[in-house]
């Protein structure tokens, strides 16, 4: 026989008790393993979703504010140099609206993807590619579900025609956006294996995409995009599939990328031996100019602009006779051998002969230039500048049809006009065009009628898009050098072509802001605690029954350690069995939780379809964790046994009475300690209320103190209670089992405290959304448009453009926001937002709105440092999604490939602003010059007019794909996530309370069972069963009273600051309903335990004998 025989014999002998103990351990194992596997499953589901979203794509080149030639994909493929193979596919991505011809079916804000057959090489199943030659539209599954149309149904797709440059810029063409539309049949749904769920954003929103043949889109969208080259083969995404690292891809890109991809061209001018660096975006960006000037500092800058009038100041005469309407004026650098001499002053102007004659001006006369610049919301600001005529230039050469002056870039809406009446420059034509102006246009097209110094031109017309329209090089060699050196010096990223590690980003996004393993572990912690405590209590019972055995071992010469080993080994087997049993339960628990997350708890996972995917690691960690926790607890429970004198164990058996003589009397500092804790709790509660501390930490801080003080008080009270001589002593035997009482009272107290907290903090909808400092900021609705609007919707320009009714729009407050799209960083997104959307907000219009936790709107007005901009964020987004704090920075890349940082400077709380970062519009427009217009609008209008205003806006902005959302609804959705978490917490907390109640039942029954002989004696001497039950009731109901009082007290004191500060979060109904239920359940448990534990049989003396 070996020592283990004793262990296994004991296990076998005490199998019933151990079963109960292992059930508690199993419960802990179930929660631990279940929580970890739920986390695994959410992660696996997000991974699966990410895989569906990006297919086989590893990287992506994106031109966010521009386009490159789609044949870049062919060049990359042909010129590819790398150890691993690579595949490329061009994609044209834009936004649009989709509608049936009768307008009954409609979807705004859909992602439009122009693809060719190469796109499907990146799909899971390339063989399932549809026949793109059919020139149909294909929809993503979500869009198809939303529209519910059948294959073959004709649909009209409308997108904005790409502009050569931002429509916010001056002279960008007609004010109204130009649309391109197609009427094609719906060809079918592209499922996930066909990359039908392709999206760049790791969001939880439905993916609404319409796929169309790339060539179909290109031919119509880019018809006016490249009037010189007449190319339409543009794209803005280049999909990549390779295992090569980012730097190899960039090297390959630099090798094949050309200036033409950036829209740059070194144009041969009609003048002999002159070339000019031009861009199809008209204004050369400063970064490109700087690079070109580095290559050749002698390049001559030029800046040509359309002025409204060149006028001669005339007093008392008809002004129309002294102006030349709508002329090109060019700024050039004065040079000794140049058009303007080296001594040329910035207040001088050179007129050509035609202009000088027209205005009858001679050298030394004054002349004014009247011109428009563009202010905020594309507001046209008219300015006037006066010059002295310093030179009369000879007439330029006549320009052939289809050609343009050497000085003038191709302005959209102007350069192609056959006559002045066709001009569509985006500025109002107020002056009358005279026949001689028409004649000048016919003969000389946009040849400048006047020249000023480049500096003067830049001061007048300089803008965020650029301060040059050309850089002139002289001599063929110089032009060629500029071409080659610029090609070499300029990187693709300088033109905004940015590489994204899509696969990596998707992988990172999966490790989302909410770790569901941790979440459920935290939520289930109390159940684990309750399970382990119950285990401990039951194991304690089992050990008490074996006191004599342990005493015997000591008497027979077993060392305390050897006895411990025997006990631990037994406990280990029990815990092991419990853990293994818990593994089975964890499967049901995990599946159950996932079922709930797929149902009524769907809000917590934004209705993500979750697949059950436990990992061996989680199962192992969970099982081992629960085993160790159980073993430690059971070892701790049994520690007292080895401290007892063997004789006490042998003689006392189950009922060892601590020998008072062996106890060391300690000074009673407990009372003062408890007083100190109570005082701290009350002070913290008051401090939390006065200083508006965050309610969560205050609740838990105060609660923990009150629980400690309450349970400490309970312990002291029962330790010191003297027996009431007037009552039967047996009923007070439980008093001596302070440990088991403490467990029961503790579980009830902690459980009721936590569940009260969860109930009390349920988020309610804001009561008054019109308050400026509420979470709505005083706004009632958000209006979003698929296509950007460029004008102030409350301005006269927009009123005329969209035919807005001033009567309806009167009294409406509206804030327009510029949007740089990104990953939603609100609690609705389970993915980790890599780059949250950036909103440009007009600070002046937002003063006094929202409740700030840190900073205010004015904190966003000035850059913190060069390239560092202050931003505002919602507190929840900051804490949970971004996991950052005030002062932290987030790097971004703008449309020109330049990096900048956003620094958190202001924080608002409980707002609908969750999900993005907000910073000053004036910074936004500088950072994203190529991105024009507004796509988000916050509307503040009285309740009774909301519907009229919204309907009117939706009607008038129909072509822009307007969608409105009630801000309260958005807040409700956001709060619902939090409420769902609280529901889960409450559910698991409730489970813990049930366990506590079960523990109470077991403890009472056990106590009654232990005292059954005394019951029988009392019964024999005349105590009726009813009387015994009443006495038992009195004794045991006090446990319930203690547990619930401590729990409720801790909970109520914890939420007191929230109640006093009227934060609106306290939900009294939840507390009351839970409290009443809990009292009923626990009281019933006591009743049931007494009925079962104290009956006719147990009180019958003869049966006991």
């Amino acid at each position: 026989m070996r020592i283990w025989r004793i262990v296994f014999a004991n296990l076998k002998y005490s199998k019933r008790q151990h079963l109960g103990t292992s059930l508690g351990a199993a419960l802990a194992s179930m929660i631990l393993v279940g929580a970890l596997t739920v986390g695994d499953s959410v992660r696996a589901s997000l991974s699966y979703q990410a895989l569906e979203r990006i297919g086989k794509i590893t990287h992506l080149f994106i031109s966010e504010d521009g386009y490159f030639h789609a044949d870049l994909a062919n060049r990359m493929q042909a010129g590819w140099k790398g150890n691993e193979s690579a595949q490329f596919a061009p994609v044209l991505m834009t936004q649009g609206t989709l509608a049936s011809p009768d307008g009954k079916v409609r979807a705004s804000g859909v992602q439009v993807l122009g693809i060719d057959d190469r796109f499907f090489d990146f799909a899971k199943d390339p063989k399932q590619a549809p026949d793109l030659k059919q020139q149909n539209f294909w929809f993503s599954p979500d869009l198809a579900n939303e529209l519910g149309v059948k294959a073959g149904t004709r649909m009209i797709l409308r997108v904005e025609e790409p502009s050569l440059f931002s429509r916010d810029a001056p002279l960008s063409g007609e004010r109204d956006a130009r649309f391109v539309s197609w009427n094609r049949p719906f060809g079918g749904v592209l499922n996930s294996s066909q990359l039908g769920k392709f999206s760049l954003r790791a969001n939880m929103e439905p993916i609404r995409t319409v796929f169309a043949p790339l060539s179909l889109l290109q031919e119509d969208m880019f018809v006016n995009f490249d009037p010189v080259g007449e190319r339409t083969d543009f794209a803005n995404l280049l999909l990549v599939l390779t295992n090569e690292p980012e730097n190899i891809l960039e090297e390959n890109m630099e090798r094949v990328w050309t200036l033409s991809d950036a829209g740059l061209d070194i144009k041969k001018l009609q003048s002999n031996e002159a070339w000019s660096l031009r861009t199809r975006s008209v204004f050369l960006s400063d970064s490109i100019v700087d690079k070109a000037m580095e290559i050749n500092p002698s390049l001559q800058g030029e800046f040509t602009y359309l002025v409204n009038a060149i006028s001669k100041p005339v007093i008392g005469q008809d002004q129309s006779r002294s102006i030349i309407p709508y002329s090109m004026v060019c700024g050039v650098e004065p040079r000794a051998e140049g058009l303007l001499s080296g001594e040329w002053s910035d207040d001088q102007i050179a007129l050509n002969q035609w202009a000088a004659q027209d205005l009858n001006l001679s050298l030394g006369d004054r002349v004014s230039l009247q011109y428009y610049t563009v202010g905020e919301s594309r507001e046209l600001l008219q300015s006037l500048e006066s010059f002295e005529v310093g030179k009369i230039l000879p007439m330029p050469k006549k320009i052939d049809s289809g050609q343009e002056s050497d000085w003038t870039p191709r302005f959209p809406g102007l350069s192609d006009a056959e006559n002045c009446g066709e001009w569509d420059t985006g500025i109002p034509i107020k002056y009358k065009i005279r026949p001689k102006d028409e004649k000048y246009w016919d003969d000389f097209r946009g040849s400048p009628k006047a020249f000023v110094s480049l500096l003067a031109a830049q001061e007048m017309w300089g803008n965020r898009w650029g301060n040059h329209t050309g850089l002139r090089a002289f001599g063929k060699r110089s032009a060629q050098r500029l071409q080659t050196d610029l090609q070499e010096k300029l990187r693709s990223s300088d033109s905004g072509l940015r590489i994204i590690q899509l696969k990596n980003d998707a992988k990172n996004a999966v490790s989302g802001p909410v770790d569901f393993s941790q979440l459920f572990l935290a939520f289930g912690f109390f159940v684990i605690l309750a399970g382990v405590s119950l285990s401990a209590m039951l194991f304690g019972f089992s050990m008490e029954q074996r006191n004599r055995q342990v005493g015997l071992f000591f008497a027979l010469g077993y060392s305390p350690m050897r006895v411990k080993v025997l006990t631990w080994a037994e406990a280990g087997v029990v815990c092991l069995l419990g853990s293994l049993m818990g593994l089975g339960w964890a499967w049901f628990f995990g599946k159950g939780i996932l079922a709930m997350l797929g149902g009524s708890w769907g809000g917590a996972v934004s209705n993500l379809q979750i697949i059950y995917a436990p990992t061996a690691q989680s199962i192992g960690i969970g099982a081992l964790g629960s085993f160790c926790m159980g073993l430690f607890t059971l070892a701790w429970v049994s520690r007292k046994q080895s401290r007892q004198a063997p004789v006490a164990l042998l003689n006392g058996g189950e009922f060892i009475v601590p020998c008072a003589g062996s106890e060391i009397k300690k000074p009673d500092g407990g009372r003062w300690f408890l007083v100190a804790i109570w005082t701290t709790a009350i002070l913290l509660s008051i401090f939390g209320w006065l200083n508006q501390l965050p309610v969560g930490p205050t609740f838990f801080g105060v609660g923990a103190l009150v629980l400690t003080a309450g349970l400490g008080g309970f312990f002291r009270f029962h330790k010191k209670t003297k027996h009431n001589v007037g009552e039967p002593k047996f009923l007070l035997q439980l008093d001596r089992r302070i440990g088991r009482k403490l467990i029961v009272v503790g579980i009830l107290a902690v459980g009721s405290f936590l569940v009260i907290g969860a109930g009390a903090f349920r988020q309610k909808a804001a009561e008054d959304c019109s308050k400026l400092d509420s979470g709505t900021g005083g706004f009632s609705h958000i209006l979003k448009t698929s296509l950007p609007l460029y004008d102030d919707l409350l301005g006269t320009e927009a009123e005329a453009l969209f035919d807005l009714d001033p009567g309806i729009m009167n009294g409406v407050s509206l804030v327009s926001l510029r949007v740089k799209d990104g990953d939603d960083a609100s609690c609705l997104n389970l993915n980790q937002a890599q780059t949250p959307p950036l909103y440009g907000v007009p600070l002046g219009q937002l003063s006094g709105r929202f409740e700030f936790v840190e900073g205010n709107w004015s904190a966003l007005s000035k850059p913190i440092a060069d390239g560092i901009y202050p931003a505002l964020v919602d507190q929840n987004t900051l804490m949970w999604a971004l996991k950052k704090k005030v002062g932290d920075q987030i790097p971004y890349t703008n449309g020109e490939g330049k990096t900048f940082k956003i620094q958190i400077a202001a924080v608002v709380k409980g707002s609908f602003l969750q999900g993005g970062l907000y910073f000053a519009e004036e910074h936004w427009v500088k950072l994203f010059p190529g991105r024009g217009g507004y796509q988000n609008f916050w509307i503040d209008v009285e309740n009774d007019r909301q519907q009229i205003v919204l309907n009117h806006l939706k009607d008038r902005l129909f072509n822009y794909g307007p969608e409105t959302q009630l801000i309260q609804e958005r807040l409700h959705r956001l709060k619902e996530v939090e409420n769902t978490y609280l529901s889960i917490f409450q559910f698991l907390g409730g489970l813990g309370v049930i366990l506590g109640t079960f523990g109470l039942l077991v403890a009472i029954m056990r106590n009654l069972w232990e005292r059954r002989k005394e019951q029988a004696i009392l019964n024999a001497i005349g105590y009726s069963l009813a009387r015994l039950r009443v006495l038992a009731w009195k004794e045991n109901i006090s446990l319930v009273a203690w547990g619930l009082s401590i729990g409720f007290g801790a909970g109520l004191l914890g939420v007191l600051p929230a109640i006093l500060s009227s934060s609106g979060n306290f939900y009294l109904g939840g507390v009351l309903s839970f409290g009443v239920t809990l009292i009923c359940v626990t009281v019933f448990s006591v009743f049931l335990a007494i009925r079962l534990g104290l009956n006719e049989e147990s009180s019958n003396l003869s049966s006991r004998e």
Partner: protein, 231 residues
């Protein structure tokens, strides 16, 4: 012969479990026992017989005085030394047999040998246990569980268990207390025989004078004092 067991000024008092004044069981007891002797301690209930036995065996701590066995103070040993001492030097027989209900008679006998203080193991241990069971007349019942044995048989198993490590001092606390007359006499005969055959010092606590008289010396508690009774 040398003094095997020496008790000097031994005092024991208990505190009341729920407070109150402590009660003195005995004080300043002195006793000398030579090796191989058999000794009976008698006295009325509550006189301190079992307390004295527990103190001799190191199962309880004295309030004052000392117990020396082979010159070594029983109560001034580390827990490990005390365990080893009890295992290798002492054998206990209790009024209640304290057999492990889940183990057979044979296995119960072997329990002290598994305490990790050396001695026989494996088949040798089993043979030794069987031999002891044979000696106490239970070789036929070796594989029976305690629940399948009579009261006398259980107590015999307990005696065999006490002897498995060859103790030099056998302490028996009311070994016949739960047995009828015939079984009690039979058990006492067994203890006396073992004392003689194995030269094991035997200290028996009993309140039955007839059984005590079978011992070489009889000591009686009298009003908190221990006095030798003339045979």
């Amino acid at each position: 012969m040398s003094n095997f067991l020496e008790i000097k000024n031994l005092t024991k008092a208990y505190s009341a479990p729920l407070g109150g004044s402590s009660s003195l069981v005995f004080s300043d007891l002195n006793l000398l026992v030579e090796a191989g002797k058999s000794l009976a301690i008698v006295g009325p209930s509550g006189s301190g017989k079992s307390t004295l036995l527990n103190l001799i065996g190191g199962l309880d701590r004295p309030t004052g005085g000392e117990v020396l066995i082979e010159g070594k103070n029983v109560h001034q040993q580390s827990p490990k030394e005390a365990a080893c001492f009890r295992n290798r030097t002492l054998g206990f027989v209790f009024q209640s047999h304290h057999l492990l209900p889940a183990l057979s008679a044979l296995e119960n006998v072997m329990i002290p040998a598994l305490a990790g203080h050396g001695g026989a193991s494996g088949q040798a241990l089993q043979n030794q246990a069987l031999e002891l069971l044979h000696e106490v007349g239970l070789s036929e019942r070796a594989n029976h569980l305690p629940g399948q044995l009579s009261g006398g048989e259980r107590q015999r198993v307990a005696v065999a268990r006490a002897l498995i490590n060859g103790p030099r001092l056998l302490l028996a606390d009311e070994p016949t207390g739960a047995l009828d007359q015939a079984k009690a006499e039979s058990l006492m005969e067994l203890l006396v025989r073992l004392n003689r055959e194995k030269e094991t010092t035997l200290v028996v606590v009993t309140h039955a004078v007839s059984l005590a008289n079978q011992m070489e010396e009889v000591w009686a508690f009298d009003d908190g004092d221990l006095k030798k009774v003339d045979s």
